[in-house]
């Protein structure tokens, strides 16, 4: 079994290192053929507009939706969350439109406002996780299909909807593998 990491642009390296630290093969995904081989997909942080253009340019849109419909787990972090969302506030940029949420881009400000903090996630054992926010988005509305799992003072920063996860923050930039382990377990089914 291997976990795919969408490797068009962004921090795919950091995710791949985490997946491999958990003892699972990480497969870089840049085109539809590479997507066929994976049991779960992580959409990394990066620039959501850039990654969105490249998803479209390299014919990944339909194959991604098809795998999602078949129930493949997909986890989007930061830009990945924006790409999974149905609604992006004030923007018509590319999105997959899967997660029933509205996100606000760069909701915390520019890079200088980036921060890290400890956050508990509901239903997630082992205590709070270190959450790193980098030019991060915020989930400003959670629709009936999605479930909020984690908040900061500013609002919701993690949701789950069936096999889809979306986080505003970057567990892959810490030494804590717990979320990656949980995602791999989900993909193993």
């Amino acid at each position: 079994m291997s976990i795919g990491v969408l490797a068009l642009q962004g921090d795919y390296d950091a995710h791949a290192r985490m997946v491999e630290r958990c003892g699972t093969t990480a497969q870089r995904v840049r085109c539809p053929q590479e997507l066929k081989r994976v049991s779960g997909l992580i959409i990394p942080g990066g620039e959501s507009t850039t990654i969105g253009k490249l998803i479209d340019r390299w014919g990944l849109h339909e194959p991604l939706l098809e795998r999602a419909r078949q129930g493949m787990p997909i986890w989007g972090t930061c830009a990945g969350l924006i790409l999974l969302a149905r609604r992006v506030e004030g923007s018509d940029q590319y999105r997959m439109g899967l997660l029933d949420v509205t996100v606000r881009r760069n909701a915390f400000g520019r890079q200088i406002d980036s921060f890290e903090t400890d956050l508990p996630i509901r239903g997630f054992p082992g205590g709070p996780i270190r959450a790193v926010f980098i030019r991060a988005p915020l989930i400003i509305e959670v629709g009936p299909e999605a479930e909020a799992l984690c908040e900061t003072d500013a609002g919701v920063v993690m949701v789950r909807q069936g096999n889809l996860w979306g986080t505003s923050f970057h567990p892959e930039l810490t030494d804590d593998c717990r979320m990656h382990r949980a995602f791999i377990e989900l993909a193993r089914g």
Partner: protein, 293 residues
């Protein structure tokens, strides 16, 4: 909650892997770059080839220009400060640029000292020609390293030299015994703790990007195959004959840098590259890479 930590600084560099950071000199160019798939832009008054041609002291860009570019795009906006000019850096930080390039493309303000980058909340990228220089900059707090190359020439030869040097010195450090690392640190003129880190990880402590002389999709792919994790393109886009098309082609060449068939598809039919220079014919005093140490 901690703001602007080492993790958030290096983290933004991690977010910029696998893409292209483009030099722009107006809001209009910034939009063209963003639409072509740039992951970030470098806000400048003049691109390096123009700085080279016009001569004189090259300084931090006009702040109105930077603000105009910040308004125009949603991707990160970087800006350059002169080597050692920590007040230009303070001003750029107050402008809330997303990254500062302490850059040899501008005229150095200090020939002895680089900026103490740990003292800032905004992250910095610095140029390097070899592993020692890269680790000295990391020691001062750079959260991203790029090759210096020879900016504004459209000639990739120096960037290739610098990337090969860094990568081969990393392999050398990896191959050493633990008790040889102090001598290596002395030889590289680099902080011992960072040499040890490279010995253990087999990579730089921060992301390792390419810059300086990239003019074609093939140049960008070459740097990626040599070990770069992303590329900066300075004069190569907006001094070429069809900037929008070239920008898109370079983005695609970075994504599929190891796939020659796709490189054919993205390269075919491109209009002319930027005007270029033979670096061997430049006077010593015209070279930018030896600025800083």
């Amino acid at each position: 909650m901690e703001r602007s930590t080492w993790r958030t600084k290096v983290g933004l560099a991690e977010m910029l892997k696998g893409g292209v950071i483009m030099d722009v000199t107006s809001a209009e160019q910034a939009k063209i770059a963003e639409d072509a798939g740039a992951e970030a832009v470098m806000a400048l008054e003049r691109v390096p080839a123009q700085i080279r041609a016009e001569g004189g002291v090259a300084r931090m860009a006009d702040l109105e220009k930077i603000a105009e570019i910040q308004e125009a795009v949603t991707i990160p906006v970087m800006a350059k400060a002169r080597i050692g000019h920590f007040v230009e850096a303070q001003i750029l930080q107050a402008m809330k640029v997303d990254y500062i390039d302490e850059s040899e493309v501008l005229t150095p303000a200090d020939e002895e000292h680089h900026i103490d980058k740990h003292a800032f909340e905004v992250p910095f990228v610095c140029g390097a020609r070899d592993l020692g220089e890269a680790l000295r900059r990391c020691g001062e707090g750079a959260a991203m390293i790029r090759t210096k190359g020879e900016a504004g020439t459209g000639n990739i030869v120096e960037a290739v030299r610098h990337m090969r040097k860094v990568m081969s010195q990393i392999r050398w450090v990896q191959s050493l015994r633990a008790d040889e690392l102090m001598a290596a640190s002395k030889q590289l003129q680099a902080p011992y703790e960072l040499v040890r880190e490279v010995h253990e990880s087999g990579r730089l402590p921060v992301p390792n990007f390419a810059a300086g002389g990239i003019a074609t999709p093939a140049d960008a792919a070459l740097m990626m195959q040599l070990g770069a994790e992303a590329v900066f393109v300075g004069s190569g886009i907006f001094l070429s004959e069809d900037p929008a098309k070239r920008a898109k082609a370079i983005v695609d060449a970075v994504t599929f840098h190891d796939d020659p068939e796709r490189l054919v598809a993205v390269t075919k039919g491109l209009a002319g590259a930027m005007p270029s220079l033979d670096i061997r014919k430049l006077d010593e005093s015209e070279l930018m890479a030896p600025r800083g140490w």
